[in-house]
Symmetry: C2
DNA sequence: ATGAAAGTTGAACCGACTTTCAACTTGGTT
DNA sequence: AACCAAGTTGAAAGTCGGTTCAACTTTCAT
């Protein structure tokens, strides 16, 4: 069951008896808690942690990192101030946990569009549309990842580097299937991946977070640009 | 004479006797001080303000807004703590002033490439290369504009909205000259402008701020993408 | 049923930072 | 030479919020 529609902390996924777990999804609450010996060991604890995470997402999303306060977060979560420190070592640690989680959320939300019908570029079009819809519905996520540049640089960098790598890999696949024109330079795929990613992020900011344009229309225009370029004839 | 190679506070530009001034550049120190009655009225004051701005650029650039402290800024500038409040109402006001200035710096640095030889897309290529070189040399500027999203949202938004508008206008011009394929939708130019801007920003982050790739090579790859697209044949 | 482990509570501590201000210095003008 | 507006100084006030902790409650395995 997802928290506030965003923090996905499916309790059962990590229950004592569960055998298999998703390969690399870190959706369980236990994994979200501070890396120290801070993971909840009880159903009650897990519920509390989940409340704190939900509250934190709202608080950081609305007020930003430095304006946000632990008092306000615990108050939103309806737990005592001290309870916070049962699960996290510091305000920063909480933020980092949230960044990791948000990064996974974005990936998981967009991933389904990347398999299925159409050539590589068509799938990128659908992925962008999905991303824009996700951004419009979860503006908090956007703000948190952006602010990670200053609060959790490691997390920020890692989010974008892995995202870019995935895009580059998909481009490589599409190219090997002959769906793309050939790129000579070894730099090319990486440069293009970062260019596409940057475009997507800014489109999300402008047309999903700040304004509300039709995701499919924006994605279509962008895809035409990516596929055919702007050059005459 | 530019401060630290970035904050351009050419004193003489605003001297009492100067007649003409650049149309819309806000390069003079007087204009940078807090809007209140805080502008320096003396050569000595102007020098002090300049020292504070230089120090602030370094401090914010290295430590980020919340880590940065007025004590540290005034100490870098070698002035007393209280002197700061002769020129700015608050830490935020200082940051805002810096954001406005950095925004102008970026524009002024890239602008020259946007006139001159070549078609519209070729000029955009040169502009991107210039931007990448500027970003590599002034990483502080990057960080400050990025952090403005949280510290000075107005300034942030205004920076990117005006930048996007300029790009869109240039696209319109190029299209009217027949250099671009025609776009039907009224949304198209704005969407494309934001996509290009986002691409440029992320390329700057990755290949100028984080890494040091050859600006011309990165710009060339990107330009090929923008001109011809990725689609096969 | 019971005891130990896990979780909860919130008052108080603590350090850090912004901002103020009244005394002092500087330098240009008359 | 003396005046005064502009600028400078730094100690201290004031605020604010993160973090700690010892007492208390709940849960759950035995």
């Amino acid at each position: 069951m997802a928290i506030t529609g965003t923090v996905d902390t499916t309790g059962k996924a990590n229950a004592k008896h569960s055998g298999a777990r998703a390969p690399r999804a870190t959706n369980d609450t236990a994994a979200i808690g501070a890396s120290g010996g801070k993971a909840p060991r009880t159903a009650r604890g897990e519920k509390t942690l989940r409340k704190i995470l939900t509250a934190a997402l709202e608080e950081f999303g609305e007020r930003g990192f430095s304006e946000a306060s632990i008092v306000s977060i615990t108050s939103r979560a309806e737990v005592a101030l001290g309870t916070f420190y049962t699960y996290f070592d510091s305000k920063e640690a909480l933020f980092q946990a949230l960044v990791r989680d948000m990064s996974a959320q974005v990936r998981d939300h967009v991933a389904p569009e990347l398999s299925g019908e159409g050539d590589g570029l068509e799938r990128e079009r659908r992925a962008l549309a999905a991303f824009l819809r996700f951004a419009a519905e979860h503006k908090h996520v956007y703000r948190i990842i952006d602010e990670a540049e200053f609060v959790d640089p490691e997390g920020f960098r890692s989010h974008y580097e892995t995202t870019a790598s995935r895009i580059a890999a998909r481009l490589g696949d599409a190219a090997s299937r002959g769906e793309l024109r050939q790129d000579e330079s070894p730099l090319a795929h990486e440069v293009i991946a970062w260019a596409l990613m940057g475009a997507n992020v800014f489109l999300g900011l402008r047309f999903a977070v700040w304004g509300h344009s039709d995701a499919d229309e924006v994605a279509a225009i962008t895809n035409r640009l990516v596929r055919d370029g702007l050059g005459a004839r």
